[in-house]
Structure formats: structure tokens, C-alpha cells
Symmetry: C2
Subunit: 206 residues, 2 copies
DNA sequence: CGTGGTTTTGAGCCCGTTCAAGTATCGTGG
DNA sequence: CCACGATACTTGAACGGGCTCAAAACCACG
């Protein structure tokens, strides 16, 4: 997808502050490419229960369909820059660059695979396995060397809980348990360092 | 996707009996189209815990990648006929029929949306809401008129449980509870009739 | 009619939630 | 730069939904 990414860089960026909802004004559905920052995608039940269905990191894609009948909402987790491709513009692009569509298909299959991994996690893992899996998943998004130094979590405990199908309290307890076992170290609540990746993998069940 | 479906019909079908695993001999990854029967897709943890990540009904597609490092397995739920498109053949097809790729992309976005709905269900719904949601989901796959008569579930209670992240006992209890409230009627364990769709929707939380 | 697998039902337990209080952290204005 | 309030995080105690274990009922095959 390098061609579409490089194209995205040349286009005008849309910026969002933390907690701003990324809406899809007008167009029936649009494809977004994250340039910088982190986006959370979530769905909710009518009584307010919320489930985060995925995060999107720089370089990744997400689709927003504007049918506001209980579909997915996108919200900026940090300050975010995205590039928007409306359905019509995307159509024009794919006619120009024949490779693009194949690459988008590939991206979407990979997203399907991570969604399936999330389904396995939610359906069959225990609370501590979920938290350990989340840390590994998040750590994987960055260079392995930065992992040694400690990585910054841009999301709150409540958001981690909404991602893992738990409560904030349970997430907090699981993290302190991992810290007590010297598997991770937590500083200032949002900086986490992996002390023993093998044990963390063990704890994740995988 | 009608062009590829109609093409599939003209090709040689591969048949599987119930409980047979649909493997991907040789090719690195293949696209399958279900012609008849129902397929279950599942992932497992090393200790045997299993989660069904989706069902595929006639006309629907699924991808199998042959990297046997904890990826998705496909298994026939009933007698099944599928048509297989290897990666190479698919490439040739998309060059011939330019529309095909766009349609596959559309299919995959829809699958992503149902995967997200499943994530919401697993993360945030109660056991009875899960079971009610499952019945509605399954009923939707067939003509509304057949729903009135009673629909046949091709899967066991254990498989429903593995789909909903529950145990067989809990699924059984939720079904008898729904039957006690006259929302559904169960005959011979596998035939289910909807007596009150509105109440069933209410019970699903949605 | 017996046998094996599936489903139902019951009783007790445990993991994760709920409710509640206390502590840390951050942003803001004095 | 510090004091303050608001938000986020942690910790504890008790509850309960769904699990586990166990047994009975049901059904599909020979």
C-alpha cells in the first residue's frame, strides 16, 4: 500500500484533538489513513455499554460508513492526523493505479485476521491473559528496541478495559499482579517496561 | 459477486462430510466459496480452548492461509460443497474481470463489520443476550417465511457455546429460559421457532 | 433394546464485577 | 511555582453470573 500511503502524504491532512469523534460528513462511506497518532474504533449498546473493536496506528486504515444505525464510531485517542478518501475519489484512484485495489484487499484480510484474534481473546481468555496479550499486541506496534526502554500507553485504563471486555478495576489489578511478579514495570501509570518477555508470552496464553 | 459465484458453479466442487477439516493443500492461501452447507471457522489456544470466529453459509466466502502457526481452521458443520480459488488462479481471474476485485473488497468489508459485531457481543453482552443475538443472527440467514415455521440449527449446543464464548450448560439454560417465557419454541433440540420476534430483539440487547 | 453422544438440570464454587473509599496525577488559575 | 479541583488509578470487601462437576434424561444409531 506504499503508493496510496505516499499519495496520502501529499494530500491535505485532517487534524483531530484527543476525544474528538472522526465523522464522515456527507459521503456514504470513506476510507481513512492514519498519518500520526492513534485512533480507537468502538461500538456501543443502547444502554451505554461500549466495546472498542480496534485501534489504528500510523500507516493503518479504517473505514467509516455514515449509517448511524449502531455502526462503528472512530475517535482520536491522541492528537491525530488522518487523510480521507471518499468513496468517489477512491474509485477514481483505483482506476488510475491498478495495484491499489489488490493492496487494499490484502490490508483488509489482515484486519480480518486481527479481528479474529480479538474474538478468540474475548471469548476464551481469562482477565490476566487478556491484559498480557494486550501489552504484547501494543508492544508489537513499535520497534523492539523501544520496548526495552519502556513504551507509552496513549489510552486510559478504562479504554484498555473497553478493548478487553473487562472493567477498569480488573485491568488495574492484573497490571499490578504482573508488576508484582517482575514481568513488567509500571511508572506513572502510562509508561510500561517489559522485564521478561518470555514470561509475558506465557501469561498471554497464546 | 454474482460473476464469481456463477463462475464457481461451473467449476468442479470439493465435497466434505460433517466434521471434516477443510485444508488448503499446497497453495499459500486460497479463497473458498460455499456452494451448499455450512462451514465453521475457529481458532484455538494451546490448551484446547476453542473459539468459533464465524460461520459461512451458501454464497459466502472465506480465506484459508496455510501457515499452521495458530491461524484459522475451517471445518464442515454439515455436508458441504465448496469451490476453491488458489491465489494464482484468483490473480488470473481478477485480470480478466476487473469488477471482481472491487466486489471482493466489498465482501471483506462486510465480513469485517460482522466480526466487529461479534466483538461487541463477546465483550459486552450477557449470556442470555448472546444466545438471543445468535438466534436472530442465524434466523436472518434464511427467508423470513421459513422463520415462522421453525428453523433447523446445524450446530450442537457445544458449537453454539464456542461461538458465543460460553459453556454448553449456559447455552442450554438460556434457551430453556427463552422457551419458558414463550419467546421461542424448541423441538427435538435442533428445531427452533420464533414465537415473539420483538421480545427476542429486546432480549438480544442490540 | 442396549450403547454412545448430546442435552438438560441441579448444586456449589470462583472469577470478575460492583460498590466504596482512598491515592496519585494532571491541568488550571492564582 | 504552588494550591486546588477534577480526573484517573489503585485497593479492599462483598456479591453474583457463569463455570465446574455430577447425574439424569433424551435421542440416534446399531
Amino acid at each position: 500500500v506504499h503508493d496510496i500511503v505516499s499519495l496520502a502524504r501529499t494530500r491535505r491532512l485532517i487534524r483531530f484533538d484527543r476525544r474528538q469523534v472522526i465523522r464522515n460528513e456527507g459521503a456514504p462511506s470513506s476510507l481513512f489513513n492514519v498519518i500520526s497518532g492513534v485512533v480507537k474504533l468502538y461500538r456501543s449498546l443502547s444502554d451505554g455499554r461500549t466495546q472498542i473493536v480496534g485501534f489504528r496506528f500510523p500507516g493503518e486504515f479504517f473505514v467509516i460508513t455514515d449509517s448511524d444505525g449502531h455502526s462503528t464510531t472512530a475517535e482520536a485517542l491522541t492528537f491525530v492526523e488522518v487523510c480521507k478518501f471518499s468513496h468517489s475519489r477512491l474509485k477514481r484512484l483505483t482506476l488510475q493505479f491498478s495495484q491499489t485495489q489488490a493492496k487494499l484487499l490484502d490490508v483488509s484480510y489482515r484486519q480480518l485476521a486481527t479481528a479474529e484474534e480479538q474474538i478468540l481473546l474475548l471469548g476464551r481468555k481469562t482477565a490476566s491473559e487478556k491484559v498480557a496479550s494486550f501489552l504484547l499486541f501494543y508492544g508489537q506496534k513499535f520497534d523492539p528496541e523501544r520496548t526495552e526502554w519502556g513504551l507509552q500507553l496513549p489510552m486510559t485504563r478504562a479504554e484498555i478495559a473497553d478493548f478487553l471486555g473487562l472493567t477498569t478495576e480488573t485491568v488495574s489489578r492484573a497490571l499490578t499482579a504482573l508488576a508484582r511478579e517482575k514481568i513488567i514495570a509500571v511508572s506513572l501509570s502510562h509508561t510500561i517496561r517489559f522485564l521478561n518477555v518470555d514470561l509475558l508470552r506465557r501469561a498471554a496464553g497464546s
